[in-house]
Structures are given as structure tokens and as C-alpha cells.
Point group: D2
Chain length 152, copies 4
């Protein structure tokens, strides 16, 4: 995947992958880092009833967990090698019930910055051949430097 | 807890409690419905490393899961007996790292409506005697009627 | 401009244009309805110091005014002939200072619905040959029927 | 008005007032800075049809203009004397039509920070003795230092 962004750290993909592995919630959700490109990240996860709301759909907060990680790592892929990334805020719109065999979040940076990076993401439900847009996120990420508790 | 809202359904608390029990993700997170009043709901959950991001804090999406359920049930408590509730959208602001022994979300309706109900919530981290505001949510909920797949 | 949406009302463009003319704030801002297609609307407005914040840039709320009208009319273009449109909520991200000769907002529906329509928009600053993304919006619009005070 | 915040600059009120006077859009809207306390600001403005949408209500973007300035100055009141303030993002919920004789926005800091300050605001419509909540905002503000184009 080629994008219009120029990464500050040539090892961006490995850095994203290593940080993703340290997010224990990703393992809990059986999430998979599908692709990493400068400013673009895709993460998938399968349906599991452990993460459902009262109607048997995936809970909006779980969808947001995957969307936020995708947004955070899209931003992180463009940050310098010594930065850590934190979410400042995000907004999720729930467009359709989250039902399907698996789900894939696609996140893109729309404005990189030294401190603040703004991202957008879409979540798709996959069922057999069908793929359907079910949620969107708009999130603001911050590069953090030299905070002992907040590493990569 | 007494609030300024007048519930349309006198059995609102039981209805919220029953729906909460059907949210399997609440059991997965060991979440507890702490209180229900007209337009106000509190939900707590303990820290567990299964739900953490790369720095060992609770993932922002997991915080959003609890905040969204609290907002949804605050709205649901004011809806008529035959309504189901869906989240249209929410925004989460992450104010401080989500570290602590347990967390408690407090949600309030700020504008009830026939179709649309607007809510706000705060998430607090509790560690011993200390209690700290760590996240806020603003969410829009919709009352849904007569959709076979979407029950209470 | 051809889009993937099928308008419910064949006179959607005239209906949008007539409603736009009734928004007095659009005349106050010297805003112009540049284009209307099913689910897509563009509105431009020139820089004027009457609408600036303390640094001489267009105020973020004025940018939001144009973005919200573009989102609202993108949603309205897909609604049936007897619907009125109201904004439920929107989020604006300010990406760069709003300086330029003129500004153009481009809004698109990402999920149409009977009651709720979700939209996205981008605001660009134009200065000579240069065009720059300066703000984004994500907004939720509602179709309203049979409310006497709320006509088209 | 006494608040729980401790301003870094004892001249915070004068600094806010001076910056407010430089926002030309505030004069255009006939807006008035009603009060300034550490982390809390109130701004009012009268109804005028120049700022209305198609139903004769104040446009949601104009409401957002006042809410955003109130949030920005609430944040600014807690910043050091050499900081400028910029809005990163805000979300507005429209709770009821903006009709009334005048409107008053009340903004409060919920989390001050060295770089990022998070705020909340409510907008009320005043008509005679009646006062009604009509909109809410949640906004993220940034302290900016040493950028020549961005002064106080």
C-alpha cells in the first residue's frame, strides 16, 4: 500500500507492530494487525459473543476499541522514533448494527502534526462475500515524548 | 438517588437491570450496575490487564464501552416500556491515563426526547481513598420501536 | 456530479436551493451554494474580517456554520419531499488556521437513513492556485415530519 | 464567582477580555463577555435574524461560535501569560431550536493541562423569565507558545 505520507522513522512498520503486540486487549479480542503503511493502518477482529451488547451485536465500545487502535497506529506510523502516542479524544458514529463474521477497521491520517495528528477510520462488517460499512471514527492523537510511564 | 426526571415506565429500574444482564460484554469486563435512577446510571468495573493498551492502562475503547452502556441505560431509564435503545454516536475525551483498582462511570441525561436522548458521562478511577476523573463522554441515544432484531 | 445515491425526490436540487436561500446567515456570510448532487453538497464563502477570531483567522464556529449547512443539505438532498432537516450534533476538527481568499466546504452522506443520516465534510482554504484542507466535520442529521414550526 | 482552579497568571481576566475584544466576530454578533473566573467564562448574544437558518432559529454554527469562544477563554484563563489558545476540536449537540431573545453560553474547564485543556459548555436561550438549555459543547483546546502568527 503506498500513501502520500513520508514517515519520519523508516522502521515505522516494525514499531507499530511491536506496540500492537503490547496492547493486551488486542489479544483478548483476537484482533490482527492486517496492514501498516505510512499514515494508514488496518486491524481486523472476529465476532465473538463475549463482546456483545443486549441484542447480540458487537458493543459499540468494542468497535471503538479497534477503531481507536487503528487511528492511534495510523498516527504513530508517522511519528518520530522516540515518540509515544496517546488518544486525546475520538467520536464514533454507529451506522448499522455490528453483526458479521468478522470486522475490519481502516484508519487514515488526515492531518499529521508535530504534537497533534488527526485521523479518520471506518469499520466494515464482513459476512461471506458481503462487506458493509457499520461505523466511523474521527480521532485526535497526541505525540508524547519523555514521559517515563508512557513508552511506545 | 432522586433526579428531576419523571420515568414513563414505573418499572424502569428492572427493565435496565434485565437489559444490562443481556450485555455479555458487561460480564466479560466484570462490570457491575451500581445504581439506576430516572435519567442516571452508574456502572463500575475492575482493572484487569486483559483490557489494557500498550502502556498498561485500560484501553480508551474499553472505557468507552462502560461509558456508552451507562449513557445508553440512563437514556433507556426514561423511555417507554416498549422502546429499545441504540447508540447513534458518542465522543470520548481521555483526560488522564486509565490506571486504578477500579473505575466507575456516572451517566446523566441532559435532554430526553421521544426519539433522541442526549447524555453525558464521566469516568472516575478509584485507587484506595483516591478518586480521579479520567474520561468524559457525550452521547446521543435513539429510542427504537418495533424492530424485530432489536429488542430490549 | 454523479453519486451512488438515489434521491427520493427528483426535485432535490431545487428543494435544497430554496432552503439555502432561506438561511439568512448564508447571505450574511456571502456564502454560495456551489453544487448539489444526491448526497453531496458544496458551499463556498469569502474571507471577511467581520468573522474572524483574535488572530485574524476565520472563527472555528463560522467554519462550522458552512460545514454544518453543507452536511445538512447533503442529507436533505436524499430525504423525501415532505421532510425537513435538523442537525442533531456535529464535531469539527480544526486542522490548520482558516486563512485564505475563500473557503469551500464539501459534504458527503456516508449513511442515509429514514430518520438519521450521517455525513462528513471537509473545508478547504483557497488562495490563488493553492488549496489546503483546514477543517473536517462529522455530523448527524435528522429528518423531521409534520412539525409546524419546522418547515423546509 | 469562585472556582476550584488556580490561575497561573493573576491578570487572567484582563488577558481574556483583551483577546475577546480582538475577536471581530464577537462584535459582529453583538456578543458580550459576561463573566470571567478561573476556568469559567460566560458569553451572551442577542437574537438577530441575520444569523438564522431556514426555520428562523439561530444557526447551529453561530451557537457553536459563541460556545467555542466561551470554551477557548475558559481554557485561556488558566494558561500562563505567554500562551495563546487554539481550538483543536469541538462537538456540539443541538438539544432544542435556538429561539429566544438572547442566548448565554457557560463554559467550564473539566481538565486543565500544560498543552491540552478539555472544556464543556452549555448554551441557554433566555425569553423573558424563561431560561432553557438548547445546546451543549465539549471541546479540546491547546496552549500555543512562540508562534509568530498566533498571538493572544
Amino acid at each position: 500500500m503506498s500513501t502520500s505520507f513520508d514517515p519520519k522513522d523508516p522502521n515505522y512498520a516494525e514499531r507499530v507492530s511491536n506496540s500492537f503486540k503490547r496492547q493486551k486487549v488486542m489479544a483478548t479480542l483476537n484482533a490482527k494487525l492486517e496492514s501498516v503503511a505510512p499514515g494508514e493502518v488496518e486491524i481486523s477482529f472476529p465476532y465473538h459473543e463475549d463482546f456483545t451488547q443486549q441484542h447480540g451485536f458487537i458493543h459499540a465500545g468494542i468497535s471503538s476499541t479497534i477503531l481507536d487502535s487503528a487511528c492511534g497506529y495510523a498516527a504513530f506510523s508517522l511519528m518520530p522514533a522516540d515518540a509515544a502516542v496517546l488518544s486525546i479524544e475520538f467520536k464514533t458514529n454507529l451506522l448499522s448494527p455490528a453483526k458479521g463474521e468478522k470486522f475490519i477497521a481502516k484508519a487514515t491520517v488526515i492531518k499529521p502534526g508535530k504534537t497533534i495528528t488527526v485521523t479518520e477510520a471506518k469499520l466494515f462488517a464482513v459476512s461471506g462475500e458481503s462487506i458493509k460499512l457499520i461505523a466511523s471514527m474521527n480521532g485526535t492523537m497526541m505525540a508524547v515524548f519523555d514521559r517515563p510511564a508512557i513508552t511506545q
